[in-house]
């Protein structure tokens, strides 16, 4: 007579709870020592998991990817800003980004992906 009626998440059994063992992936941004990565590692991990060819990824790899993504955002923002400056505007527009993507070789992988 197992209590199967209702919500169906059978967590009533006592067993080793996996939650206690897994360290939380997100570092609080308020602590000064933990400001290693602002992007939540859980979201980065979700992106990595989306690749069907990837089997496993270590924590360090996820962390570096998060940090690399931050560096990438900084880089592309600055490059796009150069274009806006030429137009004497103080607001970055979508077209500034498109120009930067066309102008900078390293951003070639982005072509066609942002539409």
């Amino acid at each position: 007579m197992a209590a199967a009626a209702g919500n169906g998440t059978p967590r009533e059994e006592e067993g080793p709870s996996g939650e206690a063992a897994a360290p939380p992936p997100q570092a609080p941004t308020s602590a000064p020592g933990a400001r290693l990565s602002r992007l939540p590692l859980a979201r980065v991990k979700a992106l990595v998991k989306a690749d069907p060819d990837v089997t496993l990824a270590g924590q360090e790899a996820i962390f570096i990817l998060a940090r690399a993504a931050e560096l990438f955002v900084e880089t592309i923002a600055k490059d796009a800003y150069c274009c806006a400056q030429q137009g004497k505007r103080k607001t970055l527009q979508r077209r500034d980004l498109d120009n930067a993507i066309e102008a900078v070789d390293e951003f070639a992988f982005l072509e066609g992906t942002l539409d």
Partner: protein, 147 residues
């Protein structure tokens, strides 16, 4: 799931903050530009993951590690990221080591206090954290990724 990988966006608030800190004061960013940058960052992660995975496969490993990602950066012509990433990795490793030592200290204290009954229970939990090698962290990843 019918979600495309590009739909997995990174949090807007964080992206906005990173952009604002990279740009001079007084410069704004339109919503469209910000959301495009956010999507670009997701595409970047996907592309970097794929490149890194190639390196892992070349090394006949199933687990992506930090050096795979660094190699991917060079492959993608983002060499300028390599040095700051290496520094960040050092700091991250130090922090992780500090955390591990702290939790091991807690374990020692726990073992001293508890009775033998509880020792059995905590041994089951501690099995996950017991090993010192980094492989253990990857095994944890394994449990989570297989879901």
């Amino acid at each position: 799931m019918a979600e495309r990988p590009e739909d997995l966006n990174l949090p807007n608030a964080v992206i906005t903050r990173i952009i604002k800190e990279a740009l001079p004061d007084g410069v704004n960013i339109s919503k469209e530009a910000r959301s495009a940058i956010s999507r670009a960052a997701s595409v970047f992660v996907l592309y970097a993951t794929s490149c890194a995975n190639n390196f892992a496969m070349k090394g006949k490993r199933k687990t992506l590690n930090a050096s795979d990602v660094l190699s991917a950066m060079e492959e993608m012509e983002f060499q300028r990221f390599v040095t700051p990433l290496k520094e960040a990795l050092e700091a991250y490793r130090r922090e992780q080591k500090g955390k591990k030592e702290a939790s091991e200290q807690k374990k020692k204290d726990k073992d001293k206090k508890t009775d033998s009954e509880e020792q059995d229970k905590s041994r089951e939990e501690d099995n996950d954290e017991d090993e010192e090698r980094l492989d253990e962290e990857e095994q944890n990843e394994e449990e989570e990724l297989d879901n």
